[in-house]
Symmetry: C2
Subunit: 380 residues, 2 copies
Amino acid sequence: MKKLSKLIMTLMTIFLLAGCGNLGNSSLSSHSQNGKKVTTTTQASKSGQYSTLLQNGHYQVSAISGLSADSNSSNNHNLQAFEAGLLAVSQKEFSPDKYYFQEGQMISAPLAQKWLNRKSNTNPLGLNPVDNGSKDADKRNPIYLQQLLEQDFYTQNDKEYNLAGMTIGLSLNAVDYYTKERYGATFETKISDSQRQQMGQEMANTIIQRLRKNKNLRDIPIVVGLYRQNINDSLVGGSFFSYGVSHKFGDKINDWKAIKEQSQVLPVVNNENPINSNDANDFSNFKNHIENYFPNLSGVTAQVHYQDGSLSGIAITITTQFYGVAQIRSFTQFVQESANRYLPQQPALEIRIQTVQDMQALITKDYNSKQFTSHVLVSY
Amino acid sequence: MKKLSKLIMTLMTIFLLAGCGNLGNSSLSSHSQNGKKVTTTTQASKSGQYSTLLQNGHYQVSAISGLSADSNSSNNHNLQAFEAGLLAVSQKEFSPDKYYFQEGQMISAPLAQKWLNRKSNTNPLGLNPVDNGSKDADKRNPIYLQQLLEQDFYTQNDKEYNLAGMTIGLSLNAVDYYTKERYGATFETKISDSQRQQMGQEMANTIIQRLRKNKNLRDIPIVVGLYRQNINDSLVGGSFFSYGVSHKFGDKINDWKAIKEQSQVLPVVNNENPINSNDANDFSNFKNHIENYFPNLSGVTAQVHYQDGSLSGIAITITTQFYGVAQIRSFTQFVQESANRYLPQQPALEIRIQTVQDMQALITKDYNSKQFTSHVLVSY
């Protein structure tokens, strides 16, 4: 009788699943059965990207993402660059060919908030220094650690997914913004590179020792990446400057490796020096060329990104004031030709063509590829 | 002496051009020389798209695009579908392999405005009927012709570009909106398919006879496409329903061919019937699948476009409420897999993944192709 009801259940499940369409046996189509949690994955659509674990078909958001040390506002560039940069750090140790990705699930939100706050009698776990009472920019203890991010990496054995690695990102301030009184003016405490590095490394070791107390985290490698959070009015995000690995059962990081990463907006403003003047000239020629041919453009700007001193990516935004279908198609062709002629060949390229309201077209190219892809958005 | 100064001029020109960057001998790099107008072209980046003529490097906008019969507002879907549809009509006669495109330059804006207005003592050229004074929806003469568009096609002989064909688009109302008094309520006069067809054909012949009086337009084929402008609150544009060719020296169109084109928004609303219920089911399965896995989506809608009864294009918009880099990457992978599984294989596909403010990712596929392209927008 028990067997029969099980058979009926199974048949009903198959029937229900079949109703969804042409399912096949892909991992995507697994559903929760009999209340047991079912882990599936998405397939990476590009090489070098992680497949992601889904629990009962759902993407798992990390509880701690977005938590912040205090009311310091951070711009959106910082948030994106922090998360995307940490994924790049993770890839140095956890290859997307072998590891599956899941947003961090091990550090709870209340715990992370305690870590992010200042150390005090009521918050002994705080990683930021105690408040010494000073309001003087150079005498007060600044908030060093602004944000915390965890990324988990799984391997698959016999259809089971097991936690096999973890990466922790520490977002450390370049400038700590503070007020002397509530709703008062904002003051700044600048944090030097060496201070940031030293504090980051100390915090990393503390975090690793705390994580190792969890028995699930004892025998996995834990990577920590240190990120310099850019100043609030920057038009690009910050960048990772250092990372290290604590191998399984280890209680600290012995060997810190430098990460040479930089981002900048072109054209440069405020007499800033371009990171690479050849690249800045190339962009300037590209910009002049398209502005000459299509005079009614509102703006042509670029974000450039350097890794180990060489240009790895350019993201260009072109704001137009025209709306005709043929004109946008023609302009897109023209921009692609101009990009191919004037811009450096190597970096990944993204060109958004848009009005102030809507994107109109997108041109992309992968790193180290000469193959452009362009698409003019349609409306039927 | 004259020869010498010419040589110096030439050398200076070369020198100036060389200063612009690595130019090569592409058509794009031609500049205006000695005050003579220089015609260049953009290169079509995809097969089936026109190369566009540029005059002194500048794209030429048609003076009449955007002109309208009266204050009848038209939605943006109509404008885009009218222009894009007319390009498709043009391709039936003027192959992008042979012809270069330029927005219409032969009909001036004042002339087009006269044609679009009602016929009257002061406007004998008006193509819309005289105002018979009635305000009754069924007795008044409605405005049939709402907009007019001209597209010019050139061929190249001995480095000269010559006008070799023209297409005229007539946007004809499905409903004429009118008020009985200024700022008053809006009333509607519905126009039947047969009325629209008959009026469009008559107007087309009148226009051809007028155009043939220009000696530059006597010996070229003139194509006229008739477009049904969709009602104002529609979420898709209208569609072309008929076209014909007046061959060189001809003074009318003898042979009108039907165009079977339809657009619709999915999921359907107001108990509307889907154009094709299989396609509507496929989309519904796709939508359910991704909503099930990522519950916090604000909306999944599609525009479907049919040509000759078969699905030629789908444009899907997915509005999300999440912002994390890893989550958007993973979701984009997931959507691409789901599209590949649930949606019809044949049509051109565009999927925009966006928040209410910004596009986050774009997935595309060409007509009759299985090759998906996806790109998650970056920020450095």
